[in-house]
Symmetry: C2
Subunit: 346 residues, 2 copies
DNA sequence: CTGAAAGCGCTTACAG
DNA sequence: CTGAAAGCGCTTACAG
């Protein structure tokens, strides 16, 4: 087994307390003792075990991220922001994945009970208020991303506004028959995006046709998959009166939808939601979520809450930006021009 | 603070040993005592702290994954395989990110010293033999993915063979002037891919022109970025005699290369390496790495090694498959046909 | 500046 | 089947 604090204390002829102090940068140690201890520690390859330190200090210095089964581009972008920000603090990031198919509450509960993290950042997990309430009882710092619950700090994007903007833009371009592709209908982001879509139509005096709001049959990952988008667009295109433009609740589905349009050889403008890394490459217009910034902010919030448990709860809502590309050009007639090519090599 | 084993022992009128036994599914407890303990535990919301258990058992039941700053599609696919496989065992996955810009050895060393994991799966970290040797001294189970070192179990893809196949295919199609886009020149996968490319040319009796082997200036993430691919392809296309086809060391760079071809309005067949999720959507031909399978296998290997420290070291090398799409069609003259459309909606 | 001792929250032989 | 006790590897008041 690796050497412990006892081994090096014995070798150095000091107490374990002194060794501990050396490794905790306490200044209550003479330079001489410090050097002796360090030398021995180096020789024996000693390094404090984080586990034991955590138990003794009652602090793990770990922030645990809970996120549904990865393969999720949204998560990657958010994580990049978290990564960069955590470098400013003395915490490590630990990531646990939950399976979206199983009971999410139980999984989150299980992870939090185990108690690895001093704080938890929960991404894209959608639960009801009563369920979040259950988690709140642990009295542990939690920050939610892409979800809203009044009892925790949350960071999200205004889905209603985003959907409204996307739909309105399509209407301004002169389209009147607008389809919408959505995912799991009862998740908060989807509810809001449908709402924004409806409002935009209503405000423009266009009747909402519920046949035009579809989702695919594949409900894996709550429907946020290419195949779901493919199926949804297929439904739309085989309608007696197919829409002449479409708002899609996520870029990943839009990708499938674009493929479906290719296969059916019937192309209509489409605007997605997210702005994933590949979206630019496929020329997909979309509502951009500031994912990197959301991740960065999440770290700030969770650290603040860990270190100061009773700061006020805050809810940050970002406004998504409309990014126009070939899939839904700014002006009719420019259907093949990529509006942002010039700025995209950065 | 949350209740401890002492609280529930007191309430239940038993010793802490008994409480511990109940939670460890020891059968040496009467049904009656068990029920009483469980009832109290439930009432008080007790759950054993993983931290304390780990210290007492000297086992964390954690497998730590070390991976360069995420935003990495390759990693996501591998992780998906790990996720699914870990469900078969009683371990949790903990992910630590390392920054590729900093000293990787130090970072890996630091993570391993902290001792959270019982075993480590290190992905896409490229070090020299002498550096890996340093890590081996800890005597901790390690599995390497996308790297080779004789002292650890490794899982990789045959880069030489893959590059050879890709290049040979291009030659068979009748192309004679072949460019190659590579990334950080001294990393093992790149060295091998350049080697395979050279061999294919030599075996076909074609002179290797070192001007044709390029990389971009942006060396972020070791050059595995779209912008690097864009720059590299730009160099190739502005050569006095541009190549008439190209093998690219990674799909992510190929994406940038395709954009460059668009901007220069000069298209040549291109074959990438990886087969990332978006590759199919952009019609990129590529050498497919079985990433999911690699992740799954990594879990099997690491668990095996944790539970049986002295099993023989094994090195698994997968052969990449050539996947043809629009970017390098199987037969000249079919440049716009996507060979795999039919099977892509699964 | 340094040490002895209690404590962090569990597990696990060892007795009974 | 159950309990007392030692131990996991550290930290941290409390004395000196």
């Amino acid at each position: 087994m690796n050497p412990t604090i006892y081994d090096i204390a014995r070798e150095a002829g000091v107490s374990i307390a002194t060794v501990s102090r050396v490794f905790n940068d306490s200044n209550c140690v003479t330079q001489k003792t410090r050097e002796k201890v360090l030398a021995i520690a180096d020789k024996l390859g000693y390094h404090p075990r984080a586990l034991a330190q955590s138990l003794a200090r009652k602090k793990t210095r770990i922030i645990t991220v809970i996120v549904p089964v990865i393969s999720n581009y949204f998560f990657m972008e958010v994580l990049a922001g978290m990564q960069d920000k955590i470098a400013d603090y003395d915490y490590d990031l630990q990531i646990f994945n939950v399976k979206i198919a199983d009971n999410l509450l139980n999984q989150a509960d299980h992870i939090m009970k185990r108690g690895w993290g001093e704080g938890y950042v929960v991404i894209s997990v959608h639960l009801g208020d009563s369920e979040w309430e259950l988690l709140r009882k642990y009295g542990v710092p939690v920050v939610l991303i892409d979800e809203y619950y009044s009892g925790f700090d949350t960071i999200s994007v205004d889905s209603i506004e985003g959907a409204y903007s996307a739909t309105s833009h399509l209407i301004e371009q002169g389209y009147r028959s607008l389809g919408m592709i959505c995912a799991k209908p009862d998740s908060k982001p989807i509810v809001d995006r449908v709402l924004g879509y409806r409002r935009a139509l209503e405000d423009a005096g266009i009747m909402v046709d519920s046949q035009m709001i579809v989702t695919g049959d594949d409900m894996e990952r709550d429907g946020f998959t290419e195949s779901n988008g493919y199926q949804a667009m297929s439904k739309l295109l085989t309608l007696d009166n197919p829409p002449d433009a479409c708002f899609c609740a996520s870029d990943i589905q839009a990708l499938g939808a674009i493929k479906a349009m290719k296969d059916y050889d019937l192309r209509i403008p489409i605007i997605g939601f997210d702005d994933l890394e590949f979206s630019e490459y496929v020329g997909l217009s979309t509502m951009r979520q500031p994912m990197y910034e959301m991740g960065s902010l999440a770290i700030e919030k969770i650290v603040e809450r860990i270190e100061n448990k009773d700061t006020d709860i805050t809810h940050t809502v970002f406004s998504p930006d409309l990014v126009l590309r070939a899939s839904a050009p700014a002006y009719a007639g420019l259907a093949n021009r990529d509006e942002r090519i010039a700025g995209s090599e950065s």
